[in-house]
């Protein structure tokens, strides 16, 4: 196969144009371009699709604009609970974690579940224990804190509803 392709997303929803200033839109675009460039670099160097998607998603998890990793939204009780999954099209092998806290890159932990356990899906305290056993650093909650996300939580609590990270739609 002499070609490669890569696509990324940072979330969907009613991202109202009126909600974003030009500067915000520009910074979101820069963050997407960085993730795309990181993933493409892996592919162009002959890297695997698995490494390319992990690299691109890690870049987006490390950016506070998107609802994942450091930019994660808050649960009702003010925590950041993260979920992630990864799948290899060649082997149909897969790895996933749910409800993990303090993990900088949940997508990398998912890949560890796929490659260094006999399981596909680990969740909650067990996934946390697996991370500790593999010496994955568990970061303090303030790494994941942002005023913007906390205001979203306050707003949702006041209305007693759950909501997507960048929309006024409620569950």
């Amino acid at each position: 196969m002499s070609t490669y392709s890569l696509a990324i997303h940072g979330g969907a929803g009613t991202i109202l144009r009126s909600e974003m200033t030009e500067e915000q839109e520009a910074s979101h675009r820069r963050a997407l371009q960085q993730a795309l460039a990181a993933g493409e670099q892996a592919l162009a160097a002959g890297g695997s699709a698995l490494t390319a998607v992990e690299t691109a998603v890690k870049s987006l998890e490390d950016c506070e604009y998107f609802n994942a990793g450091r930019g994660s939204v808050f649960t009702h009780d003010g925590r950041n609970e993260m979920d992630a999954s990864i799948m290899c099209g060649a082997t149909l092998n897969a790895g996933a974690v749910a409800m993990v806290e303090g993990v900088k890159n949940p997508i990398s932990l998912s890949r560890m579940v796929m490659e260094r356990s006999d399981h596909v899906f680990l969740c909650g305290p067990g996934a946390q224990e697996f991370a500790r056993d593999l010496e994955v650093p568990i970061l303090e909650p303030d790494y994941f804190f942002s005023d913007f996300r906390y205001q979203q939580l306050e707003e949702a609590r006041a209305k007693n509803r759950v909501q997507l990270d960048h929309s006024d739609k409620f569950g």
Binding site: M1, T3, A7, A12, R17, S48, A68, M87
Partner: protein, 134 residues
């Protein structure tokens, strides 16, 4: 929610999705992003898919796998399968959001039925593209 799908130089496909879930969520609620087949799926014979939107709809619709099945069992193209799932089946169920997908021939599909979606794509020898709105 964030995600990526890729085809590499050896013809292998992969998909990845990561999320912080829903604001103010309780009771251990888990959406589609960590559920293989719902929010993430990859199969070299068909496509790699990563979804974003209201997770409950994507769980019920087993959306990522559905795209692959339409290609495998009904012979639809990636574009036809992705469009059918997002703009017809999901829209009919009230599920809004979108997905990104890459096929085993390197084709890319990015349908969404919400107002906006942060997305980007690049193919070998082509300029990278980033978009938010339609």
């Amino acid at each position: 929610t964030v995600g990526a799908v890729a085809l590499d130089l050896r013809g292998n496909l992969a998909a990845a999705t990561s999320t912080g879930g829903l604001t103010n969520k309780r009771y251990g609620r888990v959406g589609d992003s960590s559920v293989i087949g719902a929010g993430t799926y990859a199969n070299n014979a068909t496509c790699a898919v990563s979804c974003t939107g209201y997770g409950e709809y994507f769980l019920r619709g087993v959306v990522a796998y559905d795209v692959s099945c339409l290609m495998e069992y009904q012979g639809l193209s990636l574009a036809e399968a992705a469009d059918r799932v997002i703009n017809h089946k999901q829209a009919a169920m009230g599920g809004d959001g979108g997905l990104i997908a890459v096929g085993h021939k390197g084709e890319i599909a990015l349908p969404f039925n919400s107002e906006g979606m942060y997305r980007g794509w690049v193919r070998k020898g082509e300029k990278a593209v980033v978009a938010i709105y339609r």
